[in-house]
């Protein structure tokens, strides 16, 4: 017993020393990553905002933990009209938008420039959403108030849609299948809608082979369309087959054209001799409402220097579009589809209001693109 006591004391002392070392050494390490703030979904604790990086980290940790009171209190607001509820909605979404179903999984903040009293940081937010990971990049300004740094929040709150009556007189197609009992054979036949592939282009990318093009509904009724592609080798064997999944406007109204894109991850076209495309179209009930205008479309660059097509979606109807989905076909100067890209808009598109969107384009194609065609897929809770 007497011999065991010194060993216990040694263990306790060594543990205490290690704890002290850990606390003192860990802090300079995180602060010393030359302005880089990284954070995953692991819980942590906030400390004083002595540096812009620390202030940003504290703010984003609070947002991630949904600690709205503290996050809102730590802001330097440019508009005193901003309420905590509005600030919260900016992060948590509303009206059944994609952001409502998302969570902030990780973030990454890098300083753009800093002085003694001001700093600019670029924040990359990684959201986990039902449609896959979504990356959101924001440039945030920080200012020093006393001995503390604060995030300046200058985003204007989303305007509330005023109460109004929007007449809706667009068409709707219902499907009446009729009763099979007692019906004569052949008397209730309704043909599937006629859809046609307008173009097809297969390219190799770093991620794999991509088959893309456009499809049109040539019929006078709405069609639910899916495009399948099958890769065939020189011996006539099927290598792989995939569908367009969500990279297509599934419900095509009469004479409507949609881009489609089919990805074959980790596949090279070098092995492929033929690509077989087939469309499956079925008759579905549909509505021509809501009409969504795609305004101010412009090719440019985002904050990170990526080539993007950006613009605004304008909901011209009286129905909320919960999750707008933008699909774009890009054409070269011969009118050939050279790329199809898509992106989800994180906030719901309210009646008679607009939301910005941006869809990325591979840098190598940015110079080739002469024209583009944007369609908007819409998921509305009222319709589902």
């Amino acid at each position: 017993m007497k011999r065991g006591l010194p060993i216990v004391l040694i263990v306790v002392v060594v543990t205490a020393v290690l704890i002290v070392l850990g606390l003192t050494v860990a802090a300079p390490t995180s602060a010393g990553t030359v302005g880089l703030v990284r954070r995953s979904g692991l819980p942590g604790f906030s400390s004083n905002a002595d540096t812009p990086q620390q202030a940003m980290s504290n703010f984003l940790v609070d947002v991630q933990k949904r600690n709205w009171d503290r996050a809102f209190a730590s802001l330097e607001r440019t508009s005193q009209a901003l309420t905590e509820k509005q600030f919260e909605q900016e992060w948590t979404g509303a009206n059944g938008g994609l952001r409502s179903f998302s969570s902030l999984e990780a973030f990454d903040a890098r300083p753009l420039h800093a002085t003694d009293s001001d700093a600019q940081m670029r924040v990359r937010l990684d959201w986990a959403t039902p449609v896959g990971p979504v990356e959101d990049v924001r440039d945030l300004h920080l200012t020093k108030r006393g001995d503390q740094w604060k995030v300046v929040w200058n985003e204007t709150p989303r305007p509330n849609v005023p109460a109004q009556v929007v007449p809706v007189n667009y068409l709707r197609w219902d499907l009446v299948t009729g009763s099979a009992s007692g019906a004569e054979w052949g008397s209730h036949n309704v043909d599937a809608p006629r859809v046609r592939i307008l173009s097809m282009n297969a390219v190799d990318t770093a991620e794999g082979a991509v088959v893309m093009g456009e499809v049109v509904n040539e019929d006078t009724i709405p069609a639910f369309v899916n495009v399948n592609a099958t890769l065939v080798d020189a011996a006539g064997n099927v290598i792989d087959d995939e569908t367009s999944f969500d990279k297509i406007l599934h419900v095509l109204l009469p004479k409507q054209v949609s881009p489609y894109r089919i990805d074959f991850p980790n596949f090279s076209l070098k092995k492929v001799k033929n690509v077989r495309i087939d469309t499956k179209a079925t008759l579905v009930p549909a509505s021509s409402d809501p009409v969504i205008g795609v305004m101010n479309q412009k090719l440019g660059q985002d904050a990170q220097g990526h080539a993007v097509l950006q613009g605004d979606l304008l909901n011209q109807s009286g129905q909320t579009v919960n999750i707008p989905h933008v699909i774009v076909s890009f054409y070269d100067n011969n009118g050939k589809v050279v790329w199809v890209s898509d992106g989800y808009v994180e906030h719901a598109l309210l009646p008679q209001s607009s939301e910005p969107f941006a869809v990325e384009l591979p840098k190598s194609l940015a110079g080739k693109v002469q024209n583009f065609h944007v369609v908007v897929n819409q998921y509305s809770m009222e319709n589902s």
């Binding site: 006078t220 004479k255 205008g293």
Partner: protein, 300 residues
């Protein structure tokens, strides 16, 4: 005592001889008792109608009848007619009648379909764009009341009547139980009623003739306080038929390096859209693969 094969054979040989003699005697008895049975099958049996099979001989026998959807077994008296009930010969086709009494005899016969009571009439497509050559086709097949395909050649009268225009009639004789036609779609949109008739049996189908692709798509527009209001002239195909409501017209406004697009549905022959652009713009319209005119509007 050893159990070699020769030992066993020597022991059992007398018994085998007795058994062989008994079997031979039984076969001789059966052969002497067997009768010469003949069956006379009906030559004009019709589906669903009673028929008779004449037999010769005497005594009882087992009767078997095998047909396309029939299998019957019952006791019959030889020398009497075997009555076939209507429900035993409902399906047209080849039947085999077998009678067994000691020996068996069989006879084949055919049951013909009855009188046509229904026409299966298939018409394709259910929607046909106007002015398309050889697009609409139909096939009629007569069936009797037991759903037997009537193979006897018979004339089917196809009548086509559109909303505008006089009805057209076309008689076609069935061949192997089918009569068919192929025609071009008309010039006017609307329902095309197609009737197939055979004696007093009639079947009707309707093909919806719809407008073809838009033709001469023209737009007009003006600046308003809300932006640019643009609308099409009434959208019609090349035969003057208005395109169905809901047809999508894509309006595109290009000004500087910015583009705005709206996919607007046609309503009461016209598609309208509201667009936003401040500077001079060029507005165009398209429907599917059909392009319209361009409209130039100056800046605000």
């Amino acid at each position: 005592m050893s159990w070699s094969i020769s030992t066993v054979w020597k022991t059992l040989r007398p018994g085998f001889w007795v058994l062989s003699l008994a079997v031979s005697a039984l076969c001789l008895t059966v052969a002497l008792c067997a009768q010469d049975i003949t069956l006379q099958a009906p030559s004009d049996a019709v589906a669903g109608k009673a028929a008779k099979i004449a037999t010769t001989g005497s005594g009882s026998a087992k009767f078997y009848l095998l047909g396309p959807s029939t299998a019957v077994k019952r006791d019959v008296q030889l020398g009497q007619d075997i009555a076939l009930a209507p429900d035993e010969v409902q399906s047209a086709g080849r039947y085999v009648a077998i009678v067994c009494a000691g020996s068996c005899a069989n006879a084949d016969f055919f049951v013909a379909p009855g009188k046509p009571v229904s026409l299966v009439f298939l018409v394709h497509p259910s929607r046909a764009p106007v002015g398309k050559s050889g697009l609409i086709s139909g096939v009629a097949m007569p069936f009797d009341e037991y759903h037997d395909l009537v193979l006897t050649p018979a004339a089917v009268d196809f009548q086509l009547s559109a909303k505008s225009g006089t009805p057209v009639s076309h008689a076609v004789e069935t061949h192997d139980g089918a009569a068919w036609f192929r025609i071009s779609s008309g010039k006017s949109a609307g329902p095309l009623q197609i009737t197939a008739s055979m004696n007093d049996v009639v079947a009707r189908r309707v093909v919806q003739q719809v407008a073809s692709d838009p033709c001469n798509l023209r737009i007009k527009g003006e600046r308003t306080a809300q932006g640019i209001e643009v609308e099409t002239d009434p959208v019609r195909d090349c035969d003057g038929n208005p395109v169905p409501d809901g047809t999508i017209i894509t309006f595109t406004a290009k000004g500087g390096d910015e583009t705005s697009t709206v996919d607007a549905p046609v309503k009461k022959d016209v598609a309208r859209a509201r667009m936003s652009a401040k500077g001079p713009v060029v507005i165009s319209a398209a429907s599917g693969v059909v392009m319209g005119n361009e409209l130039r509007l100056g800046g605000q």
